[in-house]
């Protein structure tokens, strides 16, 4: 049943291409219908699936001579992320309602991207997962290159190449693992259960982890992210920061850490105080948190602030992955969902609500426009999104960050304190952007043509996202209920034996 999320998206893309030229309204409605259908299926599955255990959706042999199967399955973690994709898909369409140029191609690429993302989250065969993971690169490139803004061709190409290099690294690791396990199967379950030699795991783990983590914005391979986010049109930024970056983190958790758990164990020697890949990546994660926050603090372009804030928040996710305890990992999954929603919301405000109306993202130019009077809905939405992104309790970010901090305390106390500093810095840069963009009250209100009011699709989109964040914030149990059993599944056995506490 869940597989239909993928199929509907792809079919929708195909149908869009077949629409006659110039049918913008039909294109929008079709895309919205496909997105809603996908989300509805995901929601039904989520509600029906009380425990977080693995349910197999489809499993048929695909390339029998190589042991590759078309194997779709979902556990608690996948379900959470599929839900997130559904929400972002719908709101992305809503926030792209105003695209006039080549509309049906836009939504065709969009639905192709969504379908592939669903595919990654639902794949349980590594070849299949990789196929979907690679497919994501192409629609991303075109969405940015055709409908983007600042330096779009450069940003799109950088993004495509970085992603491709990352997935190339992953491919090498996957093929090596496949061959080392006897070249009989690509099933995640089987390969995760196979005992690769510690030496092999120690070499392959960083390769595959970094390969996925490039897409997740691991410092210092994150440089594609701010450029790409800024260049992308709003819906693409929402998808990119909201969902696609989570693909990388998901890959790290689902593939790298389950296949090569011994790669995280101690090297036996220390280099600059680091004794294992776990230490290395935890350090890189915290550097990403602080660096992202610091750079966000000095940006003059509104969208760059959000772009760098994404790098900072993804640092939390990567840190959570390295805690290797139940709380930290659960918190990571919740943070994936939470940041997905909030990043989507922030980009929607900056891109759609502000930039499409004011045609500038320069904070110095936005200030005098008195935006909190001109478009109060945007101001309120940004305030709520900003507060949520700061980690204010009552919203999704708080629970997630708290759990990651707990997990980090257990594992690396010093890093946890630095993460606390990162949270404070998060407050500061959000406040600064909010203040400069919306609330500069310098008295002089230059006469200017009134800005177009906020349209219904935008309001709907904002309401959906805010509602989701509050729902997760007030009742995180609904996600934790299915994440915990998923983390206890046999898939993560190797990880548990390795370093879990």
């Amino acid at each position: 049943m869940l597989a239909w999320t993928i199929y509907i998206s792809f079919l929708g893309a195909l149908a869009l291409l077949l629409l006659p030229k110039g049918s913008t309204t039909a294109a929008r409605l079709l895309a919205l219908a496909a997105a809603i259908a996908g989300f509805a299926i995901a929601l039904v599955a989520f509600l029906q699936h009380r425990t977080g255990e693995l349910i197999t959706i489809t499993r048929v042999p695909w390339i029998p001579s190589l042991g590759i199967e078309y194997h779709l399955a979902a556990d608690g973690i996948s379900l959470c992320l599929v839900l997130l994709t559904g929400v972002i898909a719908i709101t992305g369409v809503l926030f792209s309602w105003n695209i006039e140029q080549r509309t049906k191609e836009f939504f065709a690429f969009y639905l192709l991207l969504i379908g592939s993302v669903y595919g990654v989250f639902l794949s349980y065969d590594l070849f299949l997962l990789f196929v979907f993971y690679e497919i994501v690169i192409i629609p991303k490139y075109f969405l940015i290159a055709i409908w983007g803004s600042t330096r779009r061709e450069y940003g799109a190409m950088k993004l495509a190449l970085y992603s491709f290099v990352g997935s190339a690294m992953v491919l090498i690791g996957l093929i090596a693992a496949y061959v080392a396990a006897g070249a009989k199967t690509m099933s995640l379950g089987s390969l995760a259960g196979f005992h690769f030699s510690p030496h092999f795991q120690m070499a392959m783990f960083p390769l595959v982890f970094v390969g996925f983590a490039i897409l997740a914005g691991l410092w210092p391979f994150h440089t594609w992210a701010p450029t790409g986010h800024v260049a992308a049109p709003t819906a693409a930024s929402m998808l990119l920061a909201g969902v696609v970056m989570k693909l990388g983190a998901y890959g790290c958790l689902r593939v790298a850490m389950t296949l090569f758990p011994l790669g995280l164990s101690s090297w036996g020697f220390h280099v600059f105080g680091l004794g294992s890949w776990r230490d290395v990546f935890a350090l890189l994660a915290i550097i990403g948190i602080i660096y992202g926050a610091m750079v966000a603090l000095v940006q003059k372009d509104f969208k760059f602030v959000i772009g760098y804030s994404s790098v900072s928040h993804m640092g939390f996710i990567l840190l959570g992955l390295m805690t290797l305890n139940q709380i930290g990992l659960s918190g990571t999954v919740v943070q994936m969902v939470s940041h997905g929603i909030l990043a989507g919301l922030l980009f929607a405000v900056v891109g759609r609500m502000v930039y499409d109306r004011t045609h500038t993202r320069d904070l110095a130019l936005l200030g005098p426009m008195n935006l909190n009077r001109a478009i109060p809905f945007a101001a309120v939405t940004f305030v709520i999104a900003g507060m949520a992104s700061m980690g204010l309790p009552g919203f999704s970010g708080f629970v997630a960050e708290m759990m990651i901090l707990i997990g980090a305390w257990r594992a690396f106390p010093l890093i946890a304190v630095c993460a606390g500093v990162g949270i404070v810095m998060g407050v500061v840069y959000v406040w600064r952007a909010m203040q400069k963009a919306f609330f500069v009250e310098d008295g002089s209100a230059p006469a200017q043509s009134p800005l177009p009011p906020i349209t219904l699709p935008e309001r709907l989109g904002a309401a959906i996202l805010i509602g989701s964040s509050i729902a997760v914030g007030l009742y995180p149990q609904m996600l934790l209920k299915i994440i915990t059993p998923a983390l206890n599944s046999p898939l993560f056995d190797g990880l548990r034996e390795g370093g879990w506490r």
Partner: protein, 518 residues
């Protein structure tokens, strides 16, 4: 356990009011104001009802509600009140209408202003009744949002800087506190404040935490102190305690006066509540370990702020520093209670006195300070924005009623016997002298300097030759007198019959002190 979720309803009531106000929008300002006031008075009524049904003699938490919220993390929705909580609820319920009354003349975006005030009230109610850390922390943090925007959007000329400073200071403190509680959770698996304090009483809490958190390069005592420091920082910023007070004067003076009322009347009490509910029961031994420095800080708060208020020219700043001073007494009392007495019954009795004094002072200062700022708001409105100390003069000639009522309030703040301000300070000093003699002795200086400040205000604003500018200064209207009357009356009543409050809280105080086991 009460079957009717009174506390949840009480907390939800102002939220409903805020939603109603945003629905009305900016169409009818009068309707907005009266509706907001109605909601806050309804909350007051409900609180009084709770007061009435509260059983002072029982030692257990009353009106408890307890639901599982996030079982995976042992986070519960748990509320309940004892005497302390009830008192703070009542204070919030009283202070908010005063704040609204002082904001009656706001013209810009009225519905948003009053909605934010109601939201702040809800957060206050929540913070004073929540008993699970995450639940409580949610309200603590959420309260910053309406406060920040109230300052930012309606404040004075330097409001941006003030609001920022306010936000950053409090946030840093909050994060430090969060880290501490995460460490505690790691060790015990609990977020529940009551259970944590029970664990602490058994003596093992901090040591267990330290061993489990495992900072091996620190001694257990030092590690314990570091954990304590996090929580301490959070509350010290809020009260505020010297030297974490620097955000306060600008924030209080730049905020619109109605907001200042809320800040000084209720929000500062959140910090003290935290000391009483969280720091003392859970981190008692740590407080003892650093008692002397803490006392120095409290004394510094009391004395230095008194001198600082003497030097101010802006009335709001005068009373901002004066707030620090008055709350410093509360801190003095709390630190006195923290002192180790080891079963000496007479000293324990002094602790009861000090603690009672602290609670009383919290309530009374809230009431008094709120009323003072209310008067300052009226001064501002009548004089077209002036509130400098030297801007006025001889007002008693043109506005005798104003002078009289404000005078009473000022004397209450000074601590004149017969008015409510006296009894709290008296009890604190009575209890502290035997326990922390030198600190109490030094704090008396604060009393004296405060007296100078108050008298100075009286003299410069009301006495002396009439400043010709204010020849047409209107006196209090009948409506204003009627609205002020309850507050003034309460000052007298509590001054003459403090048992009204003491009766409700005494049992709680005894419980609290007894639980401290030192």
């Amino acid at each position: 356990m009460s079957t009717f979720p009174s506390i949840t309803v009480l907390t939800a009531l102002p939220v409903a009011g805020a939603l109603a106000l945003t629905a009305i929008g900016t169409r009818d300002k009068r309707l907005t104001r009266w509706l907001a006031l109605a909601f806050s008075l309804a909350a007051l009524l409900l609180t009084l009802l709770l007061w009435h049904r509260f059983d002072p003699a029982s030692g257990v938490l009353q009106f408890q509600e307890r639901y599982a919220w996030v079982p995976t993390l042992n986070v519960e929705y748990r509320v309940g009140i004892d005497g302390l909580g009830l008192l703070m609820l009542l204070l919030s319920a009283i202070v908010v209408p005063i704040g609204m009354a002082a904001s009656w003349k706001i013209e810009k975006r009225v519905s948003l202003y009053f909605a934010l005030m109601l939201l702040l009230q809800a957060c206050l109610f929540g913070a004073f009744t929540a008993l699970n850390f995450v639940h409580w922390f949610t309200y603590w943090e959420l309260s910053l949002v309406p406060a920040f925007f109230l300052i930012k959007l309606w404040g004075g000329p330097r409001r941006s800087a003030a609001a920022t400073q306010f936000l950053i200071y409090t946030m840093v403190g909050s994060i430090a506190m969060l880290l501490t509680f995460l460490a505690l959770y790691l060790a015990t698996g609990k977020f529940d404040l009551i259970e944590l304090s029970q664990l602490a009483q058994s003596g093992h809490l901090i040591f267990d935490t330290v061993t489990k958190v495992g900072w091996h390069h620190l001694t257990p005592q030092h590690a314990a102190l570091m954990i304590f420091a996090g929580a301490f920082l959070g509350f010290a910023v809020k009260v505020p305690l010297f030297p974490f007070h620097t955000w306060l004067p600008s924030t209080y003076s730049e905020a619109p006066t109605g907001t200042t009322i809320l800040l000084t009347g209720a929000m500062s009490k959140m910090g003290l509540y935290g000391f009483l509910r969280i720091l003392l029961p859970i981190f008692g031994p740590q407080m003892q370990a650093v008692l002397t420095p803490l006392l120095w800080l409290a004394v510094a708060s009391v004395v230095l702020s008194a001198y600082a208020s003497l030097a101010q020219r802006d009335l709001k700043r005068v009373f901002a520093y004066s707030s620090i001073n008055h709350l410093g007494y509360c801190l003095l009392g709390i630190f006195a209670v923290a002192k180790f007495t080891g079963g000496d019954l007479s000293l324990v009795a002094q602790k009861y006195a000090a603690m009672n004094g602290v609670l009383l002072q919290m309530f009374n200062h809230g009431l008094t300070a709120a009323t003072i700022f209310w008067f300052i708001a009226m001064l501002e409105q009548r004089s077209g924005g002036h509130r400098g100390l030297n801007d006025f003069g001889g007002l008693r000639k043109v506005a005798p009623a104003f002078t009289g009522l404000m005078g009473i309030t000022l004397f209450s703040s000074l601590g004149l016997p017969g008015l409510n301000g006296f009894i709290g300070e008296f009890l604190i000093f009575k209890g502290s002298f035997p326990l922390v003699t030198w600190a109490a002795a030094l704090s008396v200086i604060g009393l004296m300097v405060t007296a100078l400040v108050i008298l100075g205000v009286l003299q410069k604003v009301f006495c002396g030759p009439l400043n010709e500018r204010w020849a047409a200064f209107p006196d209090l209207s009948m409506g204003e007198r009627l609205t002020l009357a309850p507050a003034i009356a309460l000052m007298f009543v509590l001054g003459l019959y403090p048992q009204l409050v003491l009766g409700a809280v005494n049992n709680t105080v005894i419980q609290m002190v007894q639980q401290l086991k030192f």
